[in-house]
């Protein structure tokens, strides 16, 4: 069985939603994912990009065991995924913090479920709050935090119960550029240190390439895996450094092309791309590709 070589094996997965129209009779089916084949390797950092509505969150839900596939199967360590468990942690789109719990008790939520004794919980939550730079904020309520801080609490909560696989759905979408870069670097460090398997959904091509070992590009209607782009940039990485390399620009452009629905043959970008600010570069690339 090749299933044992993959941390998560997604095999022939189709997911349909039945959408109810006004009358109960008229049930329509909507195919969110169609025949998805994907292997997530152990210890891999996999990112997923694709236009809105192409089924990225649906795919994460399936991996988390929060939804069941209409057809096909998913495996973790060769065992079929039948429901959620603490070996997979999910950071969902939107922070999903419990507003009646303080920051600390949010981070401890998974530990309570795991029945970790109270004093150990305290030590663990301290450690992860420090990791995400929120040491002094344990007694605050979520409403007293900024968006970026909430995001970090959600990440700390997922990390705290120490899942082998971390599923993250646009976790840095709501933070400013600087905070985002700090968080990206922190995440890379955590990943390098702990050897977790990370599946990371994002709308940002830069983010997807900067973080990933491989970028999964999805296409919509119905959601499919269009192509998987390997990212052979050196490790360990710092997001700020890696983004100014020529290799990065090439891979970034390749992903961008795939998302535009263009064929792989078109490659008009200049060979010696000068080191520029990412935004300018992006503009240049997109205008040249449009020709």
């Amino acid at each position: 069985m090749s299933a044992t070589e993959a941390k998560i094996k997604i095999s022939g997965v189709t997911r349909k939603y039945s959408i109810r129209r006004n009358t109960e009779e008229e049930k329509k089916e909507f195919t969110a994912l169609q025949d998805v084949e994907l292997n997530v390797k152990p210890g891999e950092f996999l990112t997923i990009v694709g236009p809105s509505g192409c089924g990225k969150s649906t795919l994460l839900d399936l991996m988390a065991g929060l939804a069941v596939p209409t057809e096909g199967e998913l495996f973790i360590d060769g065992k079929k995924i039948t429901g959620p468990a603490l070996d997979r942690g999910i950071v969902m789109q939107g922070y999903a913090l419990f507003p009646w719990r303080t920051v600390r008790r949010n981070v401890e939520f998974g530990l309570e479920i795991k029945k970790v004794p109270k004093k150990d919980r305290k030590a663990i939550s301290d450690r992860y709050l420090e990791l995400v730079g929120l040491s002094g904020y344990g007694d605050r309520y979520p409403y007293e935090l900024s968006g970026g801080m909430k995001q970090r609490v959600a990440i700390a909560r997922a990390l705290a119960y120490d899942p082998e696989v971390l599923l993250m759905d646009e976790p840095f979408a709501a933070v400013d550029a600087q905070t985002r870069e700090t968080l990206q670097d922190e995440l890379l460090q955590i990943w390098e240190r702990t050897g977790k398997t990370i599946v990371f959904v994002t709308h940002s091509i830069d983010e997807a390439v900067a973080l990933a070992d491989r970028v999964v590009v999805m296409s919509p209607n119905p959601g499919r895996v269009r192509e998987i782009v390997p990212v052979s940039l050196p490790r360990p990485r710092r997001v700020g450094d890696v983004q100014s390399t020529a290799d990065f620009s090439w891979i970034r452009h390749r992903v961008w092309e795939l998302l535009q629905g263009e064929t792989a043959a078109v490659k008009p970008a200049p060979q010696q791309a000068p080191v520029q600010a990412p935004l300018e570069l992006a503009e240049q690339l997109s205008s040249s590709a449009a020709l």
Binding site: L86, G94, Y141, Y143, S146
Partner: protein, 284 residues
């Protein structure tokens, strides 16, 4: 964490942010006094009218004795110790009815809020029941349970069960699916899902229901103790009314009103304390 991170914390956290706890202290004494004056103005006006109209002979003082006379009778009822017997009995009845309502409504409301299908089916029935006047059902209760304690507690139960039930249902029904999903992703047990997620989320709504019901439990006393009682605040009011001891009757009414306001006040305090996280979200 390195210094850079603190910098970001400062940046992402507005500098002009005032911690909510600090706000209360800044309220000037003058504005508190003003608020108190505003709130009591109408009360004082009505009580003065109540005092003045009978004294000036504009209203028959036998039917409406001056406010001070009613209060005086109430004080005398307390001094003689009679009042305490009534209070004890009434609180016992209200308390039992209320507790029975809680014991029924929270589990059933949770079940119905969780199973949307059942809720849809039962909703019309609930609306009919809720809007059926308790007084209209009193004869039915007497028919079924006689004139004893059972029918008195049953009528209080009927009045108190609906606010809690409906508020529990809506609280559970409106529980944020994202948070439920988030908890499920961590492999939470079915029981844990209710105790750790659904109930805390529904707490503000359930507490509102409890407060409305507690107030109703006091209001219902007058009706519940109208017939076949020999003690209780409601009984007392009817007893003195029949004997044309009008100041005592009003004394009893004043006491029930004060008791209702007091219980409501305490529960509002409890509610805002327990749902601090929610209030701040709404009020900003």
């Amino acid at each position: 964490m390195p210094e850079i991170d603190n910098e970001i914390l400062l940046r992402t956290y507005p500098m002009n942010y005032i911690h909510p706890k600090a706000k209360g202290k800044k309220t000037p004494v003058l504005s508190i006094l003003k608020a108190v004056a505003e709130k009591s103005a109408v009360m004082l006006l009505i009580l003065s009218a109540w005092e003045a109209l009978p004294r000036l002979g504009l209203v028959d003082p036998f039917l409406l004795p001056p406010f001070s006379d009613a209060v005086g009778s109430l004080v005398r009822l307390f001094q003689s110790g009679e009042m305490f017997r009534h209070i004890a009995k009434s609180l016992e009845r209200s308390g039992l009815g209320f507790l029975a309502a809680v014991a029924f409504s929270i589990p059933v409301g949770t079940f119905m809020g969780w199973n949307k299908r059942i809720e849809r089916i039962a909703d019309p029935l609930l609306q009919v029941c809720r809007n059926t006047s308790t007084l209209a059902l009193y004869p039915v209760f007497i028919l079924f349970f006689g004139l004893g304690e059972t029918s008195k507690i049953a009528i209080i139960l009927w009045g108190t069960v609906w606010p809690i039930l409906l508020n529990t249902i809506s609280g559970v029904k409106e529980a944020d699916p994202l948070l439920i999903k988030s908890a499920r992703s961590m492999g939470i047990s079915r029981i844990g899902l209710f105790t750790k997620v659904v109930w805390p989320m529904a707490t503000p709504s359930i507490l509102t229901g409890l407060r409305l019901s507690a107030a109703t439990a006091i209001l219902m006393l007058v009706a519940a103790e109208m017939l076949g009682a020999d003690r209780g605040l409601g009984f007392m009011i009817f007893y003195y009314q029949e004997r044309y001891a009008i100041p005592e009757m009003f004394g009893g009414i004043i006491f029930i009103a004060v008791l209702g306001v007091l219980i409501n006040f305490l529960l509002v305090r409890l509610e805002s304390r327990m749902t601090r996280w929610k209030e701040r979200i709404v009020k900003g």
